[in-house]
């Protein structure tokens, strides 16, 4: 009986492959079959490659190259190395821990003169200042006065500023003498090097990055969960309504997509601020008193509410497309077999929507982790995410290396989470539509 033979495609493949591997198969003119096949297919493959080429080139140019550039910038630290040749030489000759002697200070003064000549004092000072705050002016002042200094240089420099003998300064200069550094990564996890070069945590009142990484993770998970809770029923409704009605509802769901992100965010501000529509309504209804308006904006609540709204369609769409394919007869069958409607949902319907949940959750989570405009506008102080600090270092402090290190850590963190996700859910289980 035909239906008792398992339809196993692998069996067929194995047989064919075995025939080819024998190497005995040839076509009529004597060419081995394998080579003839490759020749016949090469044209098609070339055509396929040419079709992919524009996108490939585009992605390499606009995505892969910038990412590697960013990774490079996070470890690249050429300013001290390129502009202080004498100091670099001295550090190379004298091992770590050597007390800076007159030769060291001579090299230093020579380099300060070079800095003045090349107008690079700020560049080097900024580099040292990243790790030892307050030392930037040391270099700019030193460079300005270097030309007039007389030996012995050590004494002369210390007279300008006693900080020049700070062992921590010399440790920082030594590490900056290398053209590559991992110190930005240390700073990105709230660590620094002490005067002996040992890695220690930074002063408690300056620890921020780990906390923000943690908050970004927690808030993103919360937002993902919120979108799931809100999107699931609406996606179910969309999937079960007749097509004409569901199309109309779908337009409503997609409406936020067609509105500018800034418009949406500012409309949340109008709604949620303490003199906003929601608070006014609650005061008018007597739920809260005028003096105790609820602060729903410029804090975590604002960030979560606005981002949940903005990311909602990214959860609804994959859920909808998966639910649409689930035949209603499954739930009927479960009910018929004796399951209550809750059991039928839990055991039969819900498991079949998991691929949609998985896809939606991954999409929303990854978007949320990198979000920046919305938390910047509505997040206030405690609703900021790590991307806001990356932006701060890009545009505020202009410390691009630090921004690159933070971004690289964020990227690495997402890849690790993605890997975990793959282990737990299975990426091949995702269904986007």
């Amino acid at each position: 009986m035909s239906e008792n033979v398992p339809a196993d495609p692998h069996v067929a493949i194995v047989t064919t492959a075995g025939g080819v591997e024998d190497g005995a198969l040839t076509i009529s003119d004597g060419t081995p079959l394998k080579r003839a096949l490759a020749r016949a297919q090469s044209h098609a493959r070339r055509k396929a490659f040419l079709l992919v080429l524009p996108l490939l080139a585009f992605i390499i140019l606009t995505f892969v190259v910038p990412i590697f550039q960013m990774l490079y910038r996070s470890v690249d630290s050429p300013n001290f190395h390129d502009n202080m040749p004498n100091m670099v030489a001295w550090f190379a000759q004298n091992p770590s821990g050597t007390e800076p002697d007159e030769t060291a200070f001579t090299a230093l003064v020579e380099d300060l003169k070079l800095l003045k000549k090349n107008r690079k004092a700020g560049l080097v000072g900024t580099r040292i200042n990243y790790e030892l705050p307050g030392s930037r002016s040391l270099f700019t002042k030193g460079a300005r006065k270097a030309a007039k200094l007389e030996p012995p240089y050590k004494e002369a420099l210390l007279k300008i500023d006693p900080k020049w003998s700070d062992p921590k300064l010399w440790q920082v200069m030594r590490s900056a003498a290398s053209p590559y550094t991992f110190n930005f990564y240390l700073a990105a996890v709230d660590r620094t090097r002490d005067a002996d070069g040992k890695i220690v945590r930074v002063n408690e009142n300056r620890r921020i990055y780990l906390k923000l990484f943690g908050r970004t993770l927690v808030l993103s998970l919360l937002i993902t969960f919120m979108t799931f809770i809100l999107a699931y029923p609406i996606a179910h409704l969309l999937a079960t309504l007749p097509l004409r009605k569901s199309n109309l509802l779908m337009i409503l769901v997609l409406l936020p997509f067609w509105t500018s992100l800034l418009v949406r965010t500012t409309s949340w501000m109008v709604l949620l601020q303490s003199q906003g529509v929601l608070n006014d309504a609650m005061v008018a209804l007597g739920i809260v008193s005028d003096d105790h308006r609820i602060q729903m904006m410029y804090n975590k609540i604002g960030t979560v509410v606005a981002m949940t709204h903005i990311l909602l369609p990214f959860m609804v769409l994959p859920l909808y497309s998966v639910m649409r394919t689930i035949n209603p007869s499954y739930v009927r069958a479960a009910r018929n077999l004796g399951a209550t409607s809750w059991t039928a949902f839990r055991r039969i319907y819900f498991p079949q929507t998991v691929p949609g949940i998985a896809a939606g959750a991954l999409l929303v989570f990854i978007l949320a982790v990198g979000y920046y405009i919305t938390p910047a506008l509505v997040g206030g102080a405690d609703g900021q995410l790590i991307s806001n600090l990356i932006a701060f270092h890009m545009t505020g402090s202009l410390n691009w290396s630090m921004a690159a290190a933070l971004a690289a850590l964020l990227l690495g963190g997402i890849l690790v989470l993605y890997w975990l996700y793959d282990k737990l859910v299975g990426i091949d289980n995702l269904k986007l539509g």
Partner: protein, 364 residues
């Protein structure tokens, strides 16, 4: 069998009506009694209301009016999961995320059976459909016929007394379908369960059922055992829908004994069996099965001249298309056996039929 059902019906539709939109009745005044252990098929074209009736019985649709009773108990307000009715769905509805074993175990789990009892029953049910070795497969890894068997096993595993089947063989190819018809029939006989079966395939209905309810336009047109349905259709819809059928339009001219004399369209008369025709002067439609017509040979009061229009050779018999009483589509099946005349296209032959086999029915 039909007579004793009404007294102790197992399943009973009592004046059931159903409307989805409040404007159109999909099911109009349905009365149906099904006895315990009976195999009843609801047969009809799509949109005739047969599936709606099945869904009301399963509990997925509620009757707009009337009662549905199971073993004497009204079930209108009992949710589907408490009805204890097994069902085989058109697309099988095997849970894709569960293995075959888990699928079968599901109804037992929700009934709170312990693990050993479940395993025992699942094993037995799978063996019943000869699918024992597939217990760990997923539905997607099975062929259509295999899925069909699993769906059957799942509907039976919790030992329901009533099993509903909604076009369960519709997706299978012809050969497999015929084979499964026998298997289902045998299971029904072996287990003594009551089966309500929905199909639009008349041969399926005739081969499997104890009784067939022919649905059209929201009503049961005729409820009868298969042989009665074919031999003695009670109205022209059933005569048309079941099997092949020759139609002759006419007007009732008079009655003579248990026969009716009908004036046909071409002016001649024909004697027929007045099954469902009106009084003198009303229109009627005479239905004659092709195999009840003789060519040459016997002579009856209904003997008439016919012109041979077309012959189709079908091995065991020859299909002849004739012109009889002005009807160009009159079909006669001539057995391909010794002693039968070989017809030639264009010749004129004598055709005859018994007045009892010409059933005067309601006009279409």
């Amino acid at each position: 069998m039909a007579s004793d059902v009404s007294d102790n019906a197992f399943v009973e539709f009592d004046r059931v009506q159903k409307s989805y939109d409040g404007e159109v009745l999909v099911v109009k005044d349905l009365n149906l009694q099904i006895g315990k252990g009976e195999f009843v098929t609801m047969l009809g074209p799509s949109g005739s209301g047969k599936t709606t009736c099945l869904m009301m019985l399963a509990g997925f649709e509620t009757a707009t009016n009337g009662d549905i009773r199971l073993a004497g108990r009204p079930i209108n307000n009992i949710p589907p999961h408490k009805r204890g009715i097994g069902m085989v769905f058109q697309n099988y509805a095997l849970f894709p995320h569960m293995t075959v074993g888990e699928n079968l175990s599901f109804p037992l789990e929700v009934r709170g059976l312990d693990k050993t009892a479940r395993e025992e029953k699942v094993k037995r049910a799978l063996e019943m459909v000869q699918m024992g070795e597939f217990i760990n497969r997923r539905p997607a890894q099975l062929s259509g016929g295999q899925q069909q068997r699993i769906a059957l096993a799942r509907a039976l595993v919790f030992e329901p007394e009533l099993v509903l089947m909604d076009e369960p063989l519709g997706a299978l190819d012809k050969q497999l379908r015929e084979h499964m018809q026998f298997e289902i029939k045998h299971l029904h006989e072996r287990l003594g369960i009551t089966v309500v079966y929905v199909t639009h395939d008349q041969s399926e209905a005739l081969t499997m059922s104890d009784r067939v309810a022919v649905f059209d336009d929201g009503r049961i047109q005729q409820l009868a055992p298969p042989a009665d349905l074919y031999e003695r259709p009670e109205n022209s819809f059933v005569a048309q829908f079941i099997g092949e059928n020759n139609k002759l339009d006419g007007v009732v001219e008079g009655f003579e004994g248990d026969e009716v004399i009908v004036r046909l369209a071409d002016g001649e008369t024909c004697r027929a069996n007045p099954v469902k025709c009106g009084d003198v002067g009303s229109e009627t439609l005479i239905s004659i099965r092709p195999e009840r017509v003789w060519i040459e040979g016997k002579t009856t009061p209904n003997t008439t001249e016919a012109q041979v229009l077309e012959l189709i050779y079908l091995g065991d018999h020859v299909r002849c298309r004739l012109q009889v009483h002005g009807n160009d589509e009159f079909i006669v099946k001539v057995p391909n056996s010794a002693g039968h005349k070989h017809l030639v296209v264009g010749e004129t032959a004598k055709v005859s039929w018994d007045a009892q086999d010409a059933r005067a029915l309601d006009p279409l």
